[in-house]
């Protein structure tokens, strides 16, 4: 008995060691980001490197708000990501319900098309999107880029919603119908509220897709006042020198919304992502 206990604690020690090693590798770049962001410019370029700055300062955070267009870029990212999230959520929820509750022609084709459409290389859609948006005069508009983000998030979101609706017993629909609900009332008042966790995870997924995008925003947006945060960060190399403290401050600001959102909704997001992936 004692040896079993001891061997288990040795095993646990091994597990903790592995967890600590990998957490270390995950945390080093992130903490270095923070450390650089609170350094003065002189200290970012002084050797030996220090983890704790000699004179910690929030100057970089102030500068990115005042001297750089990060405020505007943050706003643009937020508008694009939120708008595309709302529309993706509406479309995928409706579609998920339709797919699981009705029999109809082309259902299988539709489902497998959702899967196949994941395989298009994003760059492959770049040129077509570019020509289409130009024709409709939507280059450099929120609406144009929002359409693109919807198309990126919609197929997997629909898969996710389908697996959530599948988990809700059909007998609930029937009971509500017997109580006199119309089909749409059943959807809106009975079934949809039960898929709140699914909708939360789709919302987070769509928001992350839009917020993180670099490829489309960097090609389909050319006006400075429409640029997004991820593009702003990638283009942040001055003509002579990169001010790494300012850049790292901007990087932190660009990551914080997602980290906060993720911390609060982690459970939903993970269950949604994996439901979509695991139950395929």
């Amino acid at each position: 008995m004692l040896t079993a206990k001891r061997s288990r604690s040795i095993k646990n020690l091994g597990h903790y060691t592995i967890l600590i090693i990998f957490s270390f590798f995950v945390l080093v770049p992130i903490l270095w980001m923070v450390s650089t962001a609170i350094k003065t410019e002189a200290e970012t370029f002084s050797l030996p490197l220090r983890w704790i700055p000699e004179q910690p300062t929030f100057g970089a955070f102030k500068r990115i708000l005042i001297e750089y267009p990060f405020g505007t870029q943050f706003k643009n990212s937020f508008i694009n990501a939120s708008l595309s999230t709302v529309i993706t959520l509406i479309c995928s929820t409706l579609a998920g319900y339709g797919i699981t509750r009705f029999k109809f022609k082309g259902k299988k084709t539709f489902m497998s098309f959702l899967l196949v459409s994941q395989m298009f290389p994003a760059v492959m859609l770049l040129v077509p999107f570019y020509t289409i948006l130009r024709r409709f005069d939507m280059i450099n508009t929120h609406v144009g880029i929002v359409f693109v983000y919807i198309s990126m998030a919609l197929s997997f979101s629909t898969w996710m919603m389908t697996s959530f609706f599948n988990d809700i017993p059909r007998s609930l629909d029937e009971a509500a119908t017997i109580d006199g609900c119309s089909k749409f009332q059943v959807f809106l008042k009975v079934i949809m509220p039960l898929t709140m966790p699914g909708m939360t995870s789709v919302a987070i997924y769509a928001f992350i897709m839009g917020w993180n995008d670099f490829l489309f925003a960097s090609t389909l947006i050319t006006h400075n006042h429409m640029k997004t945060l991820t593009v702003g960060i990638a283009e942040f190399s001055g003509q002579y020198n990169v001010l790494w403290n300012d850049l790292m401050a901007a990087s932190i600001v660009a990551s914080i919304p997602l980290i906060i959102m993720f911390t609060f909704f982690q459970k939903y997001f993970i269950s949604g992502m994996t439901a979509g992936a695991v139950k395929q």
């Binding site: 957490s23 479309c91 959702l114 459409s117 760059v123 040129v127 670099f214 990638a234 992936a277």
Partner: protein, 294 residues
């Protein structure tokens, strides 16, 4: 009456699916066909539209650079996905254990997933800075290297650097999907095996692995598709350089289109890449199914 009901039900379905379908057709099928169309033209997208049939494809397929780029992308994908899988597999098994502080570790280990790719690329650029980068400084203080390495200035090092950055970014997805798969396995199976006196290894081979097969397949397919067409981290870190050391196929397509303005050629490469991804998925599906049967 029955027929009318049935028809009404069908129509109902289309009402729910219509918005999604509209977006999929408008934003996926149409652009795809548009890309296919452009691939048959020599065009600057504005004034010049010369139909040249399959010439773009022929030009691409006889060009050695195309194969170099595809091979590089395959190599990149194999290393990155293998890295994700090994780390993700190991960590998912530990995170599935009932030990203290597991939520804390899970929260940390998931972080790379939510940090934007361009932020990750810039952070790694800073870490890899030859003079003031943390990586060179650490390696030097440990006497592992005697002088700074120009990570992104040398072809071999640049490839290693982008692979490591992409492994860092992507392992949490595999980890989380496999963890969900593990938690879905029926615990009764393990209890039954315990009664039969099965060892840990046997339980792993005869219960865990077979139960995870579908999940492993999905995780691998998603990850391979995702990283085969990867663009952002590599573009921001190296723009495909030095030379063409990290010029993945996505970067090649981007450059053909938006730097050399050969939109037709760029589109034809994109169509070829789509076909390759399709074949990879088909082969994997077959491979896994055959295993399931036997």
């Amino acid at each position: 009456m029955a027929i009318m009901m049935k028809q009404k039900r069908r129509l109902g379905a289309y009402v729910y699916i219509f918005p999604a379908l509209l977006f999929m057709v408008g934003l996926r099928i149409y652009p795809l066909l548009r890309g296919l169309y452009i691939s048959f033209y020599k065009t600057d997208l504005i004034s010049r539209w010369d139909f040249i049939g399959f010439q773009n494809y022929i030009k691409v397929l006889v060009n050695k650079q195309f194969y170099t780029s595809i091979l590089l992308t395959l190599k990149f994908t194999v290393f990155v996905v293998a890295g994700h899988f090994i780390i993700g597999f190991l960590l998912s098994h530990i995170l599935n254990k009932d030990i203290k502080g597991i939520t804390f570790f899970r929260a940390i280990l998931i972080l790379p997933w939510v940090i934007p790719e361009s932020v990750i690329a810039m952070t790694f650029k800073w870490l890899l800075n030859p003079l003031y980068g943390l990586i060179n400084q650490t390696l030097m203080s440990l006497s592992l290297i005697s002088e700074p390495i120009s990570w992104l200035g040398d072809g071999d090092f640049a490839f290693v650097a982008v692979v490591l950055a992409c492994i860092w970014k992507g392992f949490p997805m595999i980890m989380v999907i496999l963890l969900a798969g593990l938690q879905n396995i029926n615990q009764d199976l393990y209890e039954a095996a315990d009664i039969d006196g099965a060892t840990g290894m046997k339980k792993f081979i005869y219960i865990t692995l077979p139960s995870l097969k579908g999940v492993i397949y999905t995780a691998l397919v998603l990850d391979i598709i995702w990283w085969f067409k990867h663009y952002t981290i590599v573009w921001v870190l190296t723009q495909g350089g030095p030379g063409s050391a990290t010029s993945l196929i996505s970067i090649d397509i981007y450059k053909r289109s938006f730097e050399y303005f050969e939109f037709g050629a760029g589109s034809s490469v994109a169509i070829v890449v789509f076909t390759i991804i399709f074949v990879i998925k088909y082969v994997m599906e077959r491979g896994f199914k055959i295993n399931v049967d036997s």
